[in-house]
Point group: C2
Chain length 392, copies 2
């Protein structure tokens, strides 16, 4: 096991109708003027946004609004949010949505908190050392951004997608009402479940052993989303299944699944970010399209971890050699992706790439991650090219 720091102060308020506590939470954290930040669909469905406006008006909390966040949230909207917050004297941001909205809110918050240009915080040009506080009303279980220290923004001027890791960016509170995800469409539900599994697998399928409880949490998160994703295809309003996925999503990316581990591999995310940025693919689908190719490229290097994962998380019977079991585990993950309607290749995303485009994507990917990525295998540009090619 490895040494670690774990610090996840986000206050979670979990349960049906939890959003009714918004006013009290905002007062607890001293909010005077709030930015309500959202995308479109999820905040408007079932009248959530209208209810939130009423709640704030009842509690006498002033607010302004900025909607329009899109998947793979754009730098240009972040800049608009920063300008709005400055001109309106906003001191607290409430993100109503999923990972894209939360990440957009985090970017706005850090830009205001530090006084830096937002892209500088993502490109490494400025240190994300302060932020406006961000609270969340979650409407999509997927990114885990509601408790995480990270966010990802796409620079829509250059088509570069970059992440920022900063402890200050953990939301101060997260309102988790599973019923708010009842209306999430099947494909988005599936993408979310895959994303949750991937956050866990990035940490689990990595070099070295971890702590027992850490592994058990990771295994159960994967078992939970694989089982519940199938249940939710049949009954999208299954409260227990939505609740289990929601809590699994928050725990998958809040640090807990990494305690004692080596920090994780994260190559699939890096490869996926490039694919998303260039071809505007949903984050979860980009990951499932590439994961199998990555897994088969690296598993021999960390065979023990792939073996244990296959048996404990994917329920593969331990009959056969370690390598056979590990490969069956990889197949089981891909079978699950397919069962919930997700692609297991770039072709499955409806994208056909020339060899030149693949070379270019690998080149950009290596460039944006500083040349090397991954702990199972430290991937260089040539490895990235091979994995993209195997995933075509």
């Amino acid at each position: 096991m490895y040494e670690f720091v774990y610090c996840t102060p986000t206050k979670v308020v979990f349960g049906e109708n939890a959003e009714s506590k918004l006013g009290g939470l905002l007062k607890e954290y001293g909010a005077k003027k709030v930015l309500l930040h959202y995308g479109g669909g999820s905040a408007l469905k079932g009248g959530l946004l209208t209810r939130v406006r009423w709640l704030l008006e009842e509690d006498g909390i002033a607010f302004v609004e900025l909607g329009g966040v899109k998947p793979n949230p754009r730098l240009s909207l972040v800049e608009e949010g920063v300008a709005l917050c400055k001109s309106e004297g906003v001191d607290f941001i409430v993100a109503i949505g999923g990972g894209s909205v939360i990440d957009s809110a985090k970017a706005i918050g850090m830009a205001i908190g530090t006084g830096c240009a937002p892209w500088d915080l993502y490109s490494g040009g400025a240190k994300p050392s302060a932020t406006l506080p961000v609270g969340v009303i979650l409407t999509l279980s997927a990114s885990g951004s509601e408790m995480s220290n990270s966010s990802v923004i796409t620079n829509d001027y250059t088509q570069v997608k970059k992440g920022c890791t900063a402890e200050v960016s953990r939301p101060v509170f997260a309102i988790l009402n599973p019923a708010l995800t009842f209306t999430v469409p099947p494909y988005a539900t599936a993408c979310g479940c895959a994303d949750i599994a991937m956050h866990t697998m990035e940490r689990y399928l990595s070099g070295g052993n971890s702590l027992r409880v850490t592994d058990a949490i990771g295994e159960e998160i994967v078992r939970t989303v694989t089982a519940c994703a199938k249940q939710l295809v049949k009954n999208p309003q299954d409260y227990e299944a939505r609740a289990n996925v929601m809590w699994a999503g928050s725990l998958s990316h809040n640090g807990l699944t990494g305690c004692g581990g080596d920090g994780g591999d994260w190559a699939t995310h890096t490869l996926g970010h490039e694919l998303s940025a260039l071809y505007d693919v949903a984050h979860g689908a980009a990951l499932t399209a590439l994961w199998g190719a990555w897994a088969r490229y690296v598993y021999r290097n960390v065979l023990g971890r792939f073996y244990t994962f296959a048996v404990q998380a994917m329920g593969v019977r331990p009959n056969g050699s370690k390598e056979e079991i590990a490969l069956k585990g990889i197949e089981a993950v891909e079978d699950w992706f397919r069962a919930i309607g997700l692609p297991t290749s770039i072709g499955g995303l409806g994208i056909t790439l020339t060899d030149e485009q693949v070379r270019d994507m690998a080149h950009r990917c290596a460039e944006h991650c500083g040349g090397v990525k991954g702990s199972c295998v430290a991937l260089k540009e040539e490895d990235m090219y091979e994995i993209y090619k195997a995933a075509l």
Copy 2:
């Protein structure tokens, strides 16, 4: 599942030599004058206290000291600590030890923070709404107090033991170095492992279902301490085993094992506190002496939970009726207690009680908990008497 609030902001710094980061942490939290609070043995062993003094001197952080905390920490020493902190202008408390030292530090911190008499915070006479910040260097894996919102103090004037639950009492940081527990004697190691299992079981063996990940965390914590306690009897310096027990201990009582549950049963703790207060029994041993009698008294009411616990946490094969499996699970827990040298009866503690003493203990227990305790069965004084009697 039930709605819940989860908020555990304690910053954990985990790993070999983690205590070397003390100075940096104290500066991060703005400490100017520190109280080093400790018991005796564990802080002095291996020169830990001497090293801590050097670290603070090197970093130019002023400090005073108060040692002498005993198991079942005493109110009188808390009062002494309050007087010392006031006269010395202490603004931060560092607890070096296990649960007793941490709880004593919490009591001192809250008394200073609120300006109230410390016992009023435990008897319900005053609200624990503020505290001096408390940091921890853990030397015993057991209570989970290093991340928890609770503490227990014994009023040594009246022999009443009472707990206080307050969010403000969560330590701001916890330094967890498994190597600092190498010298914990076998009996204390066993008591600690039992305490960790009990914190988990109090929440798991309770009314109603919880969330999947919550159950899985509880099950693995119990599997971890049952396996590692046996390993540590053979090799007390097994770093991996100490690390696994240490992290299991912190997670067992930081709120995570209760997310989505009904709040837990806690009757065994309530019954055990009375036994500890009257006869000065180690906390863990008091719990194991009573647990079997409690479990057999209540299990039929929550048979499903006892059944699942038996299979998932204790490895009982699911052959037989649910009731048979549940009872085998109870036996397996008691077998484990015995295997690591812990009592499974009050007689096993070397204590012989008259019927009058049992009646008196049940009466005091009911009185101190407000008449009723437990969610599996809401125990009244007569039930408490029956359980104590069955545990003789």
